[in-house]
């Protein structure tokens, strides 16, 4: 490889390796991606620490072909099913949500080529065994406050029907149950019941994202809930519902 480079380029590779301590392969990758500008190459290298592990694009293409739908250039339900099988993971497993997040998947139950390959690349894996090895660390990401919030908010757009602004109630309920068993919220069942009885309509993005803030800041007995707290009206109604039904102590 090095032999095909011009003198200037070879120098840059040497410099890169000396400064970053990276391998020749990584140096070449970064410099190629930045069109042989040293500064740009540093930027790329430092913003993607995972790319210390090099992925082989050919392996990724193979992998994609395995799961891709015969008629459409996308991985659809069957492909995902197969993927889960290969990974020995339940398709309903929350780790698939985390994986989709890494892939920046637009919609649930399908991956585009870019999403699949790009996602695995960003994780630094190019084979099923390597991906399987990564799964525990993906699961762990849910424990991180910031990452959980990002994944939670990502789930809203991901779980939506294409072309719809709000999230269908049933889907929302399912997602909440999934997410709040990971990050335990004792009121999740009451919330779901309340919505089915009193609201019975789709969920807006604001309600979705504000609910997480509610779960994080307000204790399950609602002792620190503030009526003037600018919570979405559904949450205000939920508090009323809990009080009326004696699930939490009366607020007077």
């Amino acid at each position: 490889m090095m032999s095909k480079l011009g003198r200037g380029q070879k120098d840059k590779v040497q410099q890169f390796m000396a400064i970053t301590g990276a391998s020749e392969k990584v140096a070449l990758q970064a410099l190629k991606a930045s069109d042989w500008h040293l500064e740009g190459a540093f930027d790329i290298f430092y913003s993607q620490p995972q790319i210390r592990a090099v992925t082989d694009t050919r392996h990724l293409e193979e992998l994609y072909k395995r799961y891709r739908d015969p008629d459409v250039d996308m991985i659809l339900v069957e492909g995902i099913s197969l993927l889960c099988n290969d990974l020995q993971v339940d398709p309903q497993d929350i780790v698939m949500l985390v994986l989709s997040w890494h892939m920046k998947a637009a919609t649930m139950c399908e991956f585009s080529r870019q999403e699949f390959i790009g996602g695995l690349q960003s994780l630094g894996v190019d084979s099923i065994p390597k991906l399987r090895e990564k799964l525990p660390s993906l699961r762990n990401e849910l424990r991180d406050e910031h990452k959980f919030r990002e994944i939670y908010n990502f789930a809203f757009s991901w779980a939506r029907e294409k072309g719809q602004k709000p999230l269908a109630l049933d889907t929302a309920l399912g997602m909440w149950r999934l997410l709040f068993s990971e990050k335990h919220w004792p009121l999740v069942e009451h919330w779901c019941q309340f919505l089915q009885v009193r609201h019975n309509k789709a969920i807006s993005r604001d309600t979705w994202s504000q609910l997480l803030e509610f779960v994080k800041t307000i204790d399950p007995q609602l002792s620190n809930y503030d009526e003037e707290g600018a919570w979405p009206y559904l949450i205000d109604e939920f508090v009323e519902y809990l009080t009326e039904n004696g699930i939490v102590p009366s607020r007077k």
């Binding site: 602004k165 807006s204 993005r205 604001d206 504000q210 600018a230 009206y233």
Partner: protein, 735 residues
């Protein structure tokens, strides 16, 4: 002397070189002369004295440094005289005591004056340098110490004065001139003497006197009489001061009376059974109220006490009025009662409460409170106006009309839900215009101007559009008949009012089947109109029209019936059938059930208007009923009005519907307000938005904070706003 020689040179004045030697014996002799003079002065024998000689004696003494002797001698002499005078005063009996004191005081002052004149040189030179009290003041102090403060006089003086005042208070006549002299004497002796020896005890005694008297009065008097008595006592005291007390005592004694007679009994007076404030208000007792106002004004919290009691009385009275189900049956009566209440209490405030602005405000806030307790108030006020504009103000002068409209505007201002009023006013106005039943165009327009001034152009632009439509329609009809007269021939005469959608209240239009004769001419009109106004769409509002029909009854009696369009459709059916069932009528006309029942009821069940006969003859319409043309119908009027297109109180379901529409209309207004506010403020927290929106919309209605919140969320969903990333209570405007 060298004067002669000096005259030729410079004129110089030199001190006396001729010194008069004064040996001590001479000093003693001179003093004796003066001492004797003082005695004589005190014994009223001053006329025989030579002022010049005495003055010179005193002068010499001071000059030769015998000022001390002179001064101490003066003190001793005066003191011994005063002690004698004291004894003489003490010996006076009863009433003569004060007179004697007064007399002796006058004497003393005269004497003092003379003594001072004689000793003037001493006063001017010796006294200042040796820091002694000047003669006049000395004289006063000695009088004070040896007469006024003498053991046997001091208490007796005080008691005498207070006793006299007490007697005067209980009705006796006393010698006021004498009193004045005595109190003036005390003032001359120093204001602290006046205060300590007279004023303070006077105020204390007065306080217990009035405390006692007020306790007495309060149990046996009613509020009005008590206040009269209190006022009288107050005036008495002020008069007393002007006659024989020092002016500065006035404010002190009046505050004693105010405190004892008024402040201490305020609550009891105001709440007195059968005669307290509330009774006075109910019975329009202007004098009593005026008296209470001016008396209570003098004491702290006085006016606020009256105001608070008045406010809770008004609120309760108002609350009872607006929740009285009997009265609510007649909306016009209801509003008239409100107006009467306002008039009554306006009069009280202007006559008895001096037009006090704080009372006006209390009245306004009370009205605002109870008018809005009944959420039908906006509807009823509009109905009242409808009644007045349709017939009530018939024959009234322009001023009378203005007075009535202005009074109603005052009530209007109290409404929180002005948008509800607008909806009803529009409906009622539409009916008035379409049925041609308005007392005066000017009155209608005047009302619109008032509403515009109060609420702005937006409130009235549609109402004005309605008037424009009426005028335009008139012109259109003239043109129609001018152009089409040949074609129309003998058909029914049409009068069309073309209403611009949006200006007029929206009613869901259920079309009905018009009789063929009518349909023909209507179609002719439609063709004509659309010929001159392309791109428009016409829809016949059959629920709002009227018709005049000629009908012939039994024995050839002819009458002209003025009916609604629906009624016309029903009646015309009887041209081809004598009797029809409810269902047949329903099928033929396709009029909606509720309207049809009301229509048939008005044609068959109302005495004097029963052009149809119903079997069975019950009051209500059932779907099994059969209807017949009533051959036997009679009326003393040739023209009989059976139309039902008059504004009336809505039924429960109609009311719910209107309210729902109002709520729907409010949503975009709230959103527009939110967007306006956020556009200018860019970033704002939730509570501030709610406050600002409420402020902006309060001229029309009071927005519900929950609704505001929902609108904000809707705007977030539509990406007009977003929550701030750091502070979730903050919203940001998205350009």
């Amino acid at each position: 002397m060298n004067s002669q020689s000096q005259r030729r040179k410079n004129f110089k004045i030199e001190a006396f070189k001729h010194k008069v030697e004064l040996d001590p014996k001479y000093a003693e002799r001179t003093w004796k002369v003066l001492e004797h003079a003082i005695h004589e002065i005190y014994n009223n024998n001053a006329s025989r004295l030579s002022f010049e000689e005495l003055y010179r004696s005193a002068y010499n003494m001071v000059l030769h440094k015998y000022g001390d002797k002179l001064y101490t001698g003066l003190v001793a002499t005066m003191t011994s005289h005063l002690n004698k005078i004291a004894k003489s005063i003490e010996s006076a009996q009863g009433g003569l005591f004060l007179e004697k004191l007064n007399h002796k005081w006058a004497d003393h002052n005269k004497a003092l004056q003379m003594i001072r004149d004689i000793l003037m040189y001493m006063d001017r030179s010796y006294v200042p340098t040796s820091h002694k009290t000047p003669v006049h003041e000395l004289g006063l102090n000695l009088w004070r110490d040896h007469i006024i403060h003498s053991t046997n006089i001091q208490a007796r003086l005080q008691d005498t004065l207070l006793d006299l005042i007490q007697r005067e208070r209980t009705g006796d006549v006393i010698n006021r001139g004498l009193m004045r002299n005595i109190t003036k004497m005390l003032m001359d002796l120093g204001s602290s003497v006046y205060q300590d020896d007279f004023e303070k005890p006077f105020l204390d005694v007065s306080a217990s006197f009035y405390s006692g008297e007020s306790q007495q009065f309060i149990v046996c008097c009613d509020c009005g009489s008590y206040l009269k008595k209190a006022e009288r006592r107050l005036n008495e005291e002020m008069e007393r001061v002007s006659h024989y007390l020092d002016a500065k005592t006035e404010v002190k004694i009046t505050s004693v009376v105010e405190r004892e007679m008024i402040a201490n009994h305020m609550q009891r007076l105001v709440h007195m059974d059968n005669s307290g404030l509330v009774n006075m208000l109910m019975d329009d007792k202007y004098d009593d109220l005026s008296r209470m106002y001016s008396l209570f004004k003098r004491v702290p919290e006085g006016l606020s006490t009256i105001r608070d009691v008045m406010t809770s009385y008004l609120r309760e009275r108002g609350r009872v009025l607006v929740t009285d189900t009997e009265r609510l049956k007649d909306p016009v009566e209801f509003v008239q009662c409100l107006l009467n209440e306002k008039d009554k209490h306006d009069k009280i405030i202007s006559t008895a409460f001096n037009n006090d602005k704080t009372f006006q405000n209390a009245l306004n806030s009370s009205f605002e409170y109870f008018i809005n307790l009944n959420n039908r108030s906006p509807e009823f006020i509009s109905l009242y106006l409808d009644d007045k504009l349709r017939k009530g103000l018939k024959g009234a002068s322009e001023e009378e009309v203005e007075v009535v409209l202005d009074k109603v505007m005052m009530l209007f201002r109290y409404l929180q839900e002005k948008d509800v009023f607008e909806k009803y006013y529009k409906q009622h106005l539409a009916k008035r215009l379409l049925s041609g039943k308005t007392v005066s165009d000017d009155a209608e327009r005047s009302m619109i101007v008032k509403l515009k001034t109060e609420c702005g152009y937006q409130f009235t632009s549609k109402l004005e559009g309605m008037f424009t439509d009426m005028k335009t329609s008139e012109d259109t009809m003239l043109d129609f008949y001018a152009k089409q007269s040949a074609e129309l021939g003998d058909g029914p005469t049409l009068a069309v009012q073309i209403l611009t959608t949006g200006s007029w209240p929206t009613q869901p239009t259920a079309a009905c089947n018009l009789p063929p004769e009518i349909l023909t001419v209507c179609e002719k009109f439609r063709t004509y109109y659309l010929g001159t106004h392309s791109g428009r769409r016409l829809t016949w509002q059959t629920n709002m029209g009227t018709a005049d029909i000629k009908a012939t009854f039994g024995k050839g009696h002819k009458h002209e019936l003025n009916v609604s369009t629906y009624q016309m459709c029903v009646l015309m059916l009887f041209n081809s059938a004598d009797g029809l069932t409810y269902r047949e009528i329903e099928q033929a006309t396709e009029i909606p059930a509720l309207d049809l029942k009301r229509c048939l009821q008005s044609l068959a069940c109302v005495k004097g208007k029963n052009v149809l006969r119903k079997e069975p003859m019950s009051k209500d319409i059932s779907e099994e009923d059969v209807f017949y043309f009533n051959d036997k119908f009679t009326s003393k009027f040739v023209k009989v009005k059976i139309g039902t297109v008059v504004a009336q109180k809505e039924s429960e379901p109609e009311k719910q519907e209107t309210r729902q529409r109002v709520e729907e209309d409010r949503k975009p207004q709230i959103e527009a307000a939110i967007v306006r506010i956020m556009k200018s403020r860019r970033v704002l927290d939730h509570n501030s938005i709610v406050a600002e929106v409420t402020k902006q919309l309060q001229l029309r209605f009071l927005p519900n904070p929950v609704v505001i919140k929902k609108r904000i969320e809707s705007l977030i969903e539509r990406e007009f706003l977003e929550r701030d990333k750091a502070d979730r209570k903050l919203y940001r405007y998205l350009a």
